[in-house]
């Protein structure tokens, strides 16, 4: 039991992903939603790296790199949009921005 295998990392990744998932479901504040998304992305990164390590393959790490790159761009664009929204509604709460009601 003292030996740490790939399963341990995967379970950890799954748990973190679930935490992020819960956050996405729970949060109404857009900024907090972004945080939850970051948690999920990081969880996935752990899984990629762990699997790559297990097979002795570098592809896992490569994917993790690209995920980080995507996350960074997402934050940049997302925060820009967030600011625009805030200017318009004075809030970043999803219940306030309910403009999709037909």
């Amino acid at each position: 039991m003292l030996e740490i295998g790939v399963n341990h990392y995967l379970i950890l990744s799954g748990l973190l992903f679930s935490i992020g998932f819960m956050g996405v479901l729970r949060r109404k504040n857009l900024l907090m939603l972004f945080f939850a998304t970051e948690v999920m992305l990081n969880a996935v990164n752990i899984a990629f790296t762990a699997i790559g390590n297990y097979y002795g393959d570098l592809s896992g790490q490569m994917f993790a790199f690209f995920v980080i790159a995507v996350a960074a761009s997402e934050v940049a664009v997302g925060l820009g949009l967030l600011i625009v929204l805030y200017k318009k509604y004075g809030s970043v709460d999803l219940d306030v921005i309910a403009s999709m009601k037909g």
């Binding site: 399963n7 341990h8 948690v39 996350a71």
Partner: protein, 187 residues
Amino acid sequence: MYEFIAFYVFAISTTILFLITVMSKNVLYAMTALAAGMVMISGLFFLLGAEFLGVVQLIVYVGAVMALYAFAMMFFDATKNIKEKHQNPTLVFLLGGLMALLFVLMFSAPIIGDNIQAIYPMIEGVGNAQAVGMVLFTKYLVPFEVAALMLLVAMIAGIILAGKKMDYSLTESESADEEMNIKKGDA
């Protein structure tokens, strides 16, 4: 033994920190916990022998992304607690718990599939950073360049959305309203 202790330390701390991120009512606490969790995850990367990735994690996430969040937060009132209406918290916890349970069940099974061959195997005798570099700039060159372009586009988008005419509303164009009012007046 060393790996065992390190894994559990990092694992438990990330879990707790991320839980704080998700549950906290205060944006500042949440962001701080997120940043700390990122650091812990980079520790996990080091444990997995991906030193370069760990460093990138520290620089990009804890450094750049968190700085971005911190700047963004300045627009909003960060010290005030966020008020959120939670319609049915039990459902959220149920769904999250179910998801966690499914993942635990799925990943606790032993991995079968020994016949999988590594496409880009770890290169013996070189450090991780060197190996990553060799793969990244040969096999993944095009995706890498595309990612670079994507980051550029994202940067420009971020600047335009947030930076230009900071004091002027882009979406609620008053001039347009004024034009319409003038036309109505004419009629």
